[in-house]
Amino acid sequence: MSPRSTWRQAGLLVGPALLLLAAVYLYPLGRLFVLSVGGGPGGAGLEAYRRLAESSVYVDVLLRTTRISVVVTLVCLLAAYPVAYVMTRVGPAWFRVLMVFVLLPLWTSILVRTYAWMVLLQANGVLNNVLRWLRVIDEPLRLMYNETGVVIGMAQVLLPFAILPLYASLRSIDPRLSRAAQSMGAGPWRRFYSLTLPLSMPGMATAALLVFVQGLGFFITPALLGGSRVITLAMVIETQVVDLLDWSLASAAAMVLLVLTAALVVGFDRLVGLDRVWA
């Protein structure tokens, strides 16, 4: 086949999706960019970005958003690793049970799950009542309307995005490697940190990327579980657009989020390779 007709075929195959993306994604994105540099009182310029950078409120929000995302990523990795590991070890029947438990939350509305967490975490919620009944605590723990609550809720919502790539990565490790190590005298712990852990690094990186990037833009869960005390970047954007009608500042904040995410994705591609995300 000539290069030319290969290009034409590729164009025909990818074209419709590209057109759709251009219409519903690239165009609005372009508009957003134009708004962020053009809407200020001083005309076109970096006015909105300057306002973002100069206000300690917005810098704090950006730092808090990043911090929450980092903590959520760590919690997800720690919680997901044992689950993914067990999934590679059990028989097909148990594997199906575990897979349903991993996927079921993914198919449940985030709103529903977040409200469920509110029922569990509030001062008179299930968790506090059980702990008080067990006499572990006297006063109810403050598990909501703070970063703790946001982290708990977000970690649960994002957990499947950590489990699935970790499972794929762990499953692709040749079990004969572990046998070889075992024949050479390596006990379970040495086999884990010398083989399983380093060989599952691509899965860890993928899980971290998926959780962290989604965490940066999370809205519903922090809004409901954090309330007005835990403002994240997505909440700032919403307030600017809905309440203050400051499209320029909202667009600039959105662009910051976009650039941050894009930088992470590019960095990941350089270090690990984007083709490994779903492999």
Binding site: Q182, M184, G185
Partner: protein, 358 residues
């Protein structure tokens, strides 16, 4: 002989109702090279995995240096293992792969460096210490896998079809290298293969397995010359197998009719009764072809049906009449006439070369 290094006593392994290994008993002595040889599914790899500890026997006893190891995990059995897939650690350099077992044993790093260098030298891989497994050819990976299993001097080396993934020429090269290495280091080796040539070339003793049983154990020459069953005769080397009926027996010989008017005289101590159905085997290279016949026992007139030139030998299919076809293998050294199809020949064999199985 001294106490065996490895002892298997009545070892069986069942998977549900399937019997993978059936009542196997085997001794492997210090410094020996023993091969488990058999077709796929004969239980040879399962037997190896039972000794390594990756499988637990359903019944029976496995001892290493006299101590039962059935409840001991693989990492505590002091074995070295080479897999057909090599199983090199992909994220480690050749050096780190080979050093793995030493570091597991907390050998000081200067000594690790010396011992890894020495063993890499022994397998001719000195210049490759910094490479990664994916940068090596199959043969090179195999050498690293062997080095990795030998560097800590395990008391027993287990090899599961280690040359199975290599092409023929490389396989033969590696065979002689492996044999040299094993002889130099004196490491007791249990080797699994389905390749009879490999088994003959490498082993001090061969255990032939079929359908979970060890059918016969012995030195290569002993098995080749005195197979216990027609399965062994057929599996180790090429063989003509002919069924017949005992026509009569005198002292030291049995006469077997294999077709109308074709009687084979077999030298054997056995005295099967007349009329008994028996199976005869004879190696193709033990048959002689000539254009003139001298009569006497085991000399039959035949006709060449096909001839295949193989370089150092020529293989003929010769029809003896009544539909009996035998394969004849004759050496070719440049002087011999090669018979063409249709040629009338005389086929001759010695009574000593035939084996009879009841």
């Amino acid at each position: 002989m001294s106490e065996p290094l490895v002892t298997l006593r009545a070892v069986s392994k069942h998977y549900g109702r399937a019997i993978a290994v059936n009542n196997v008993s085997l001794d492997v002595f210090e410094g020996e090279f023993v091969t488990l040889l058999g077709p796929s599914g004969s239980g040879k790899t399962t037997t190896l995995m039972l000794i390594a500890g990756f499988e637990t026997p359903t019944s029976g006893e496995i001892r290493i240096r006299g101590a039962s190891v059935v409840s001991r995990p693989p990492e505590k059995r002091d074995i070295g293992m080479v897999f057909q897939s090599y199983a090199l650690f992909p994220h480690m350099s050749v050096f780190d792969n080979v050093a793995y077992a030493l570091r597991t044993r907390r050998v000081p790093s200067t000594e690790v460096g010396e011992r890894v260098a020495r063993v890499l030298d022994a397998v001719h891989m000195s210049g490759f210490a910094e490479r990664y497994p994916r940068q090596l050819s199959g043969g090179q990976q195999q050498r690293v896998a062997v080095a990795r299993a030998l560097v800590y001097r395990p008391s027993l080396l287990l090899m599961d079809e280690p040359l199975g993934a290599l092409d023929k020429k490389l396989r033969e090269e590696m065979q002689s290298e492996l044999k040299d290495l094993q002889r130099t280091l004196g490491v007791t080796t249990l080797y699994v293969t389905h390749d009879q040539q490999e088994a003959l070339a490498l082993s001090d003793r061969i255990a032939i397995m079929n359908a979970g049983d060890v059918v016969q154990i012995g030195a290569p020459l002993a098995l080749y010359e005195h197979p216990a069953t027609d399965f062994v005769a057929g599996f180790l080397g090429d063989v003509n197998t002919l069924d017949g009926v005992v026509a009569g027996a005198e002292t030291g010989v049995v006469r077997v009719e294999i077709a109308d008017g074709i009687e084979v005289t077999v030298a054997t101590a056995a005295r099967p009764s007349a009329g008994k159905r028996v199976r005869l085997t004879l190696r193709p290279e033990r048959l002689d072809l000539a254009t003139t016949g001298g009569g006497g026992v085991n000399c039959w007139r035949g006709r060449v049906r096909g001839a295949t030139f193989r370089g150092e030998l020529v293989r003929y299919d010769v029809e003896l009449g009544s539909g009996v076809v035998v394969t004849v293998s004759r050496p070719y050294r440049g002087q011999e006439t090669i018979f063409g199809p249709g040629q009338e020949v005389f086929v001759r064999s010695r009574p000593d070369d035939w084996r009879v199985f009841g």
